[in-house]
Amino acid sequence: MTSPYFWLATLIAGLVLLFVGAKSKTLLNNTVFAVVVSIMIALSYFTLVDHYFMDMQGLDYWYLFRN
């Protein structure tokens, strides 16, 4: 969970699901599917933002989890 690759994989998985959903319109507008895909994309996006913007400053976002 503390690896950015895990979150990157989640983001890619979310985007792939979005693409699959977009192929069949009914799936994309299914509430459960939409909520799950949205959470996957948004959650992984914000975690990556947190990680990389801290990393850019030479800081460890996962400091507490690693110690």
Binding site: L28, A34, V49, M54
Partner: protein, 649 residues
């Protein structure tokens, strides 16, 4: 050759000549700039001049070198040291009054008007461009009329700005001659370019304004529009040059420790705080200009006698507010960058600002920022009332109020309180056992980001108020938007809480992902909303003019808060130098080299704000005397007589 073609060619030639003339002073200054502008501040010492004349090696050895206080490079001493002043008539001539208050007043008024006349032409450029590219011709003409109205307001203010600039220079010359002599010696070439740019700005502005009628169609309109670009480039350069003076006073560079100019004018201009100040000021000016124009529109709305006028000024107020707030949203981030650079330049200066002598002024500043965002949100919620179909959002507004106030209260919580010994004993220390936890930057960053994200959400609601998306993936879009905003709030609050559990050197970095989260909401959600609302079904028209009077008072509040905050921040930035004219280079030995009490500063800022608003009302009144409205066609009545300047936002 037809007359139209001839006119076009003449216009292009005129524009080319104008640009050429504008470049002449810069091109002629380049050799001087490259060489550092020659000797400054009274010329080089006699021995240096003699050495140059003779070319004698022995004499050349006498050329004195100094080390730059900031860049740490070596340079030939080309100016006199900063004067060591004494309290007396020679260095500080005075009336029976505090000279600092006079210079404060003159500076602040010049700054208010300067900001206004630099910001409004940028509005004109944006709105005129919107008018030119608008597919709907009627709408395009309305934008054109609006841009013309804006420039008309700024024209009278422009003259007043120049007058106030003159008053400011005379005040400096008569009350602070030693300091001004030193500063103008260092910045001699810059000041000349500034003056020439001011002439160019005036000329371009007058041609831009008076040429509106003559250049209203076709290719000539594009020439006119490109003139506004030239105008704004000059205006921005002017501001950057003026910023270099105050940046030099705070964080000098290009001089040695005695304040002697070392021959590189770029080092003097490009100091540690110059760029953060430039960004902060340009955003601040735009937000301030938007606020003033919105207040003008609100005043005209409230005094309108007809529905048509009310509709026009309601629309004008909305556009000005929207542009102003668009620049207000990134403003706290620019301020944060400036503060970071201040800390990086001199940690003590940062501590004086935010943790020491001036910290309470920052609490007032936080309160003003909160008021700005609360007023903006209130206006947007009121504006939902003029849209049919927007009622669906009304029941959620109370939740936004709750979120906003939570963010606001945390944002304004002070770290420590000024207390009597008895109060200190009763509370058990300088910090309140519960509320004290909210007085740290970790919590405050969370507070302000929550406020800004909520403002973005209010804007998104406003933009989709009377519309229903017709895209096939509308349901997914709405869910995604809701989840994205929800997780953004969670991320901001999470980072704020996380900051309590990690060391200070790691915590300080958390503000960057917090800002990135807020900006992600701003850019991605605006973009997503725009795509979703393309070709959307309209539930009803926007009934311009049918908005509560309270909303207009919110606009006036917004403008007043902007003005007050500008005065406050100017005072904070200036007084952080404490007893220095030029930080660590030239000491202020006048009897007023002390920091005023918070109460005195607040009264002084209020007096400045009051004077500005009384004088700008005069400017508005003068502007209303000229009944000439250039784009005559723009005055065509709105189809159907409905008081509705535009169909969209």
């Amino acid at each position: 050759m037809g007359s139209v073609t001839r006119k076009k060619i003449l216009s292009i030639m005129a524009l080319g000549a104008m640009v050429g003339l504008l470049l002449v002073p810069i091109l002629t200054s380049l050799p001087a700039l490259a060489g550092g502008g020659g000797p400054a501040a009274g010329g080089p010492p006699p021995e240096v001049a003699a050495a140059k004349k003779d070319g004698d090696k022995k004499e050349e050895a006498k050329v004195e070198k100094g080390r730059d206080v900031y860049y740490k490079t070596e340079g030939i001493v080309s100016g006199a040291p900063a004067p060591i002043t004494t309290d007396g008539e020679k260095d500080y001539p005075r009336y029976n009054f505090e000279s600092r208050v006079l210079i404060w007043f003159a500076n602040q008024q010049h700054l208010y008007y300067g900001s206004f006349v630099l910001a409004v032409p940028i509005f004109c450029m944006i709105i005129e461009f919107m008018g030119v590219v608008a597919k709907d011709k009627a709408l395009g003409k309305k934008y054109d009329q609006l841009a013309y109205d804006f420039v008309k307001i700024s024209l009278t203010a422009y003259s007043l700005t120049a007058i106030l600039g003159g008053i400011l220079i005379f005040t400096f010359l008569t009350l602070y001659p030693a300091f001004f002599g030193y500063l103008s010696g260092i910045f001699r070439p810059v000041m000349h370019i500034y003056a020439l740019m001011f002439v160019a700005e005036s000329g371009t502005l007058y041609i831009y304004y008076y040429g509106w009628d003559k250049m209203k169609t076709g290719f000539l309109k594009w020439i006119h529009l490109s003139m506004s670009v030239v105008l704004n480039v000059i205006g921005t350069v002017l501001m950057f040059l003026a910023n270099s003076w105050i940046a030099f006073m705070m964080s000098p560079a290009g001089v040695d420790e005695q304040g002697r100019f070392l021959g590189n004018i770029w080092h003097v201009i490009h100091t540690a705080l110059w760029n953060p100040l430039n960004v902060h000021r340009i955003l601040g000016n735009m937000a301030f200009g938007g606020g003033v124009v919105a207040a003008y529109a609100a005043y005209r709305f409230l005094s309108s006698k007809t529905d048509e006028d009310r509709a026009h000024y309601d629309w004008m107020g909305y556009i000005a507010m929207a542009i102003g707030v668009a620049f207000l949203i990134p403003l706290p981030f620019a301020g944060y960058w400036l503060m970071r650079e201040v800390y990086a330049y001199r940690q003590q200066m940062g501590i004086t600002l935010m943790g020491g002598l001036l910290a309470w002024l920052f609490i007032i500043q936080a309160t003003m920022i909160g008021i700005l965002f609360l007023s903006t949100n209130y206006y947007l919620w009121q504006a939902l009332g003029r849209m049919r179909g927007a009622e669906k959002y009304f029941r959620y507004i109370k939740y936004l109020v709750f979120i906003l106030f939570c963010g606001f209260l945390i944002f304004i919580t002070p770290h420590t309180m000024v207390m009597t010994p008895a109060e200190l004993k009763a509370m058990g220390g300088q910090q309140h056992p519960v509320l004290g936890n909210y007085g740290v930057m970790s919590a405050k960053n969370g507070g302000i980001n929550v406020i800004i994200t909520t403002t973005v959400l209010s804007f998104v609601w406003y933009m989709r108020g009377n519309k229903v998306s017709t895209v096939s993936w509308a349901k997914f879009g709405n869910i995604f938007m809701g989840v994205f905003f929800g997780l953004a709030y969670i991320n901001i609050v999470w980072l704020a809480i996380y900051g309590y559990y990690i060391p200070a050197n790691v915590r300080v970095g958390l503000s960057v992902p917090q800002v990135a989260t807020t900006l992600s909401c701003l850019f991605y959600m605006f973009a997503l909303n725009s795509v979703m609302m393309k070709g959307a079904k309209q539930l009803g028209p926007i009934e311009w003019g049918k908005i509560s009077a309270r909303s207009q008072y919110a606009l006036i509040m917004l403008a007043t808060a902007f003005t007050w905050m500008m005065g406050l921040m100017g005072y904070i930035r200036s007084s952080v130098r404490l007893f220095w004219h030029v930080n660590e280079i030239m000491r202020d030995n006048s009897p007023w080299a002390y920091t005023h009490t918070v109460g005195f500063a607040a009264n002084m800022i209020s007096a400045n704000v009051l004077f500005f608003w009384i004088s700008i009302l005069f400017v508005f009144w003068v502007g209303s005397l000229t009944k000439k409205a250039a784009p005559v066609e723009a005055k065509v009545p709105v189809p159907g007589g409905a008081p509705q300047p535009v169909a969209g936002h």
